[in-house]
Amino acid sequence: MSKQIRIIEIPVGPQHPAIHEPIQLRIWVDGEEVVNVKVVAGFNHRGVEWLAERKTWHQNVFMCSRICGICNTIHGTTCAQCFEDLGNIEVPPRARYLRVLVNELERIHSHMIILAIMAEAIGFETLFMLMMRDRERVMYLKELVTGNRVLADYVTIGGVRRDITTEICDKIKKHLNYIEERMKYYKKVWSEDPIILKRLVDTGRLTAWQAIAHCVVGPMLRGSGVKSDIRKDYPYAAYDEVPFNVITYKEGDSWARMMVRVDETFESINMVRYVIEHLPSGPILPKVVPKKMPPGEGISKTEAPRGELIYHAISKGGLKPYRLKVRTPSFTNIHNGAFLIKGAHVADVPVIFTSFDPCIACCERVKVIDVRSGRSMVVPLKELNRLRW
């Protein structure tokens, strides 16, 4: 008698696939084992790139900050750097240091939230509550420096929008001491707690060769032992002057990816301290910031909390960009890393998916589905304009 094979399709999401954002993972299971997986995105598409062509250069920096909520400053920074590259605008040294300061504060709270969410995904809700409590201090610091706890709107073309005072520096130092102490405790929890080790170690193992072949970026790549960081490789802002280490782990499993984030938090705390102590004096904006850009192309690469973020803008002169292309780290990590879910158990799907640190709002792109044939395709915007609806 031949063994009967029954494969069942299970939709994970779009309401709550491990993280609280809309994306669907269609998994096919044979018993407990996942045999195939398909990522269905597009629930959160907002047409940001289309909108960018209809807004002025300065408005675009604010709009691009709203692509993602958690990593909004880095989106604003990359967008501003892209336009600075286009218009050959020089950023004053004080503004470059302040950009590092706010971006590193953002990295701390972004890594803390994904560590907390991972704790929640494996059913460790106490750790989730404790980490979210301590994260609130970082949010307060961000509010102190920028004026808003989430959407900072701190970076503008040519520099930053606010200066920092010595009182704020003292407060940052005070709170960072507390956060560092807590993070040391959490590092012990993450590396020793039996619940965490049992769920995370050996789930979703990604070798260094696979990581490079599948083009994953950020902590996912560094968790597999590949030493790659845009801040070191192609320094922007003041990263060439601020000392820091690139954290790598050799294991390549979900646990290694989370530990990269834990260790990067300490590096970020040290970088913020260094920036506060070595802050150069001077203006925060150049004397003249143009409203029109010359024709040409601008490109900017940065290391967002989730990996490499690229902005590419084309200008034909005038007040608005001709085209603005955004390539976010979550887009590559989610779609190219999804193969890791194949072969895992059903219960490990949320763990593996959360260890990518997915940010769905970042990764939504144009996708066209032909209703008659059911064929889906990705087309460039230029061709999309020619299509008849």
């Binding site: 807004k55 002025t56 300065h58 408005q59 604010f62 709009m63 709203r66 106490t126 750790l127 404790l130 409590r133 609130e136 307060y140 509010e143 102190l144 004026g147 808003n148 706890r149 959407l151 709107d153 929008r161 606010r162 405790y185 012990k188 929890v189 020793e192 707690d193 039996p194 619940i195």
Partner: protein, 131 residues
């Protein structure tokens, strides 16, 4: 098997005050320098409309005030993203800033979120002041 590391921390927190706030009764005080509700000082405003042009969310409408014979900005808080671009670009610093938190939107009282400029002086009969 080792004990979960968090056990001591959990026991310590059992006897502490809750970190959460009962929201409508108590609110978190925003940090100094928070970007809150902003209004237009009508006496200073020259009606150039730069804030309306620069606003990334199209939240500022320039409206004609017939008794003053001039156009003034009207802020729609329901559209506003509180980026303070208008405050930054204003050539005469006519915006009054505050640390007051923006209200949650109530669609039945949408008029609440349309804010008129503040005037301290009565409109002069000659129309535009100084001319």
């Amino acid at each position: 098997m080792s004990l979960p590391r968090l056990l001591g921390e959990v026991l310590k927190n059992l006897f502490k005050k809750p970190i959460t706030l009962p929201f409508p009764k108590e609110e978190i005080k925003p940090a100094p320098g928070y970007r809150g509700l902003h209004k237009v000082n009508g006496d200073k405003c020259i009606g150039c409309g730069l804030c309306s042009i620069e606003c990334p969310a199209q939240a500022i409408e320039m409206k004609m005030f017939p008794e003053r014979k001039k156009r003034y900005p009207i802020i729609h808080y329901d559209r506003c993203i509180f980026c303070y671009r208008c405050v930054e670009v204003c050539p005469v610093k006519a915006y009054i800033i505050s640390e007051e938190k923006p209200p949650a939107i109530r669609f039945d009282k949408k008029e609440m979120f349309i804010v008129q400029p503040i005037f301290t002086s009565m409109p002069s009969k000659a129309g535009r002041e100084g001319k």
